[in-house]
């Protein structure tokens, strides 16, 4: 067994929020700034205990605006940095999240979703921020957002979030929900050597370095503040050297295109999903996060009863496998979409799948979908 303090190799029984914090530390996160909010508070609490043990820094901030600002600063100072919040705090962070996209600052933002709008239901689950994750800040940008469905995935996908963030030099959002955040399950932390950890690409020499000059993958290498590189970091539209270009349409076009294209053109590398029983499925259930845990047993029960049902689960909510979803939509008679909101990702699926074939089943608060409920939906679609 590993004796390392940063990777607690072994079998644990912990909450999803704790697994997320441990995943962050295992991925190399050494800075957390946050403002506790239910149902994400355990992440901050655990980071406050754990980061000092591994030489990291925990900062309790005065609010969420300051939290994300500190995270962006820490990332430019060279640390892998994270914050965690829930809907109301995520709303407050939006302007600076846009700044992080604009300045191509790697960081991880965890949103353990509860019910909204506004204060909503602090202790109850929701999936009401999935569109905010995509469109929350102003301007054009493409995001990466991941959706865990178990405690193990709170660990695994937090590591993935850091790796994607370092690879594409952008914020990555982990969209969990209250149930997964507070659920306790078995967590297996592997040996440190078995965990793939990606570090941001750094410039090779001082001479001629431009902080926003991309490589072939459209991602610029990133220098650390204080290393001797000349860094000009601004939320204004800028050129490759970072100098403001607030009036040039060419500069605006070049930058916005690249900010979007570095995600769009690498989509096939980023997108993650899982699917089961789709080969001959007439009825396909699409579910992510917690509702996936309700849908899978329902689909398995439907199969036992001779119903040709299948299931598709996006793991990256942004971006998604549009081509695959179009294929599924063409072959299935009915597509059932489950969400713990009143129809958000649904609108994306309606673009890729004939809306007349889609049956939408929303759920609210604690009344999460049950396997029996989903099976009932599947049976009704058979008629």
């Amino acid at each position: 067994m590993s004796r390392r303090l940063d990777v607690l190799t072994g079998v644990h029984f912990v909450q999803g929020d704790i697994a997320c914090a441990e995943g962050a530390i295992a991925a190399g996160c050494r800075f957390f700034a946050g403002y506790p909010i239910t149902p994400s508070s355990e992440i901050a609490q655990h980071m406050a205990v754990r980061l000092p043990q591994v030489g990291g820094i925990y900062l309790q901030m005065e609010d969420e605006i300051a939290s994300i600002a500190a995270v962006i600063g820490a990332s430019w100072a060279g640390l892998k940095a994270m914050t965690a919040t829930s809907g109301p705090g995520f709303s407050l962070m939006q302007e600076n999240i846009g700044y992080a996209y604009m300045t191509e600052t790697p960081c991880v933002i965890v949103d353990v979703m509860r019910g909204g709008p506004s204060t909503g239901q602090p202790t109850k689950p929701g999936q009401q921020d999935v569109m905010q994750a995509k469109w929350g800040s102003h301007g054009d940008y493409e995001v990466i957002a991941l959706s865990p469905a178990s405690v193990q995935e709170m660990f695994d996908l937090t590591i993935e979030a850091f790796n994607l963030s370092e690879t594409y030099r952008c914020p990555v959002i982990l969209l969990a929900d209250e149930v997964i955040g507070h659920l306790r399950e078995k967590l297996i932390i592997p040996e440190a050597e078995e965990i793939e950890v990606v570090e941001r690409r750094r410039p090779e020499d001082l001479e001629g370095y431009k902080p926003f000059q991309p490589g072939e993958d459209l991602v610029p290498p990133m220098a650390r503040l204080g290393e001797g590189f000349r860094l000009y970091i601004t939320g204004l539209t800028h050129d490759e050297a970072g100098r403001p270009r607030a009036s040039s349409p060419e500069a605006q076009g070049r930058l916005v295109r690249r900010l979007c294209d570095k995600i769009r053109l690498n989509r096939h590398r980023i997108v993650k999903f899982e699917e089961h029983y789709l080969e001959d499925a007439e009825i396909v259930v699409i579910a992510y996060g917690l509702p996936y845990r309700s849908a899978l047993p329902a689909v398995e029960e439907a199969r036992r009863r001779g119903i040709r049902a299948g299931i598709y689960r996006p793991i990256t909510l942004w971006p998604q496998a549009e081509e695959r979803l179009r294929e599924i939509g063409e072959r299935a008679h009915r597509v059932i979409v489950l969400e713990m909101n009143y129809g958000q990702m649904l609108r994306e699926y309606q673009r890729w799948i004939d809306p007349d074939r889609i049956v939408f089943s929303p759920s609210f608060g604690e009344a999460i979908p049950t396997p029996e409920g989903v099976l009932g939906l599947i049976k009704r679609c058979m008629r």
Binding site: F13, T123, R184, L290, P297, T370, P371
Partner: protein, 179 residues
């Protein structure tokens, strides 16, 4: 195998911790478990329930729907959950706090004066450990040694009294089974 346990009461009774220890004991035993809790924004006195699913395979749906074993530690909790009990399920309740007017689908009803016993032990807060002992005995899904190990790893304060409370609950459960 999928075994569902629901423990319900009020904030401050140790309902959540009891569920956590059961889940942890299952993991120690090489099984899978999912534990969750539900409560309002209050810290004390509000309705609380702790749910545990023990499974020898992956736990799919992580919430309890029809518990095989139900523990109620308040009248309110009893009224709210008695009808969710599975046919032939086990009902455990604190006889000083709950007057069970109807048995629901319970095959076995087990009254236990857990809070009073804990007070006699000198630590009212150990009532949840007495309940834990009764659950271990009456459900038969976990070995007492595994639960004891889980208590040792999860309970820091008053460990000896808590372990004593657990063993008292275990013995009480065995006696109830015998009756």
């Amino acid at each position: 195998m999928r075994y569902e346990i629901l423990i319900a009461g009020r904030g401050g009774q140790g309902v959540v911790l009891a569920g956590v220890i059961i889940g942890y004991a299952a993991i120690i035993s090489g099984l899978n478990a999912a534990q969750s809790q539900s409560y309002g924004p209050e810290a004390r006195g509000g309705k609380v329930r702790s749910e545990v699913i023990i499974s020898d395979g992956p736990v799919g749906y992580p919430k309890v729907r029809r518990p095989n074993l139900l523990v109620t530690l308040s009248q309110e909790a009893y009224e709210a959950y008695i009808d969710s009990l599975q046919e032939g399920g086990i009902l455990i309740y604190d006889e000083d706090l709950v007057k069970p007017e109807r048995a629901g689908r319970a095959a076995g009803r087990y009254p236990i004066p857990a809070t009073r016993m804990a007070e006699e032990l000198g630590l009212r807060l150990s009532a949840n450990m007495i309940i834990l002992g009764a659950i271990t005995s009456l459900s038969g899904v976990l070995r007492p040694e595994a639960v004891e190990e889980a208590i040792r790893r999860r309970v820091r304060r008053h460990l000896e009294i808590n372990l004593k409370a657990f063993r008292m609950g275990l013995e009480y459960g065995e006696r109830l089974k015998g009756d």
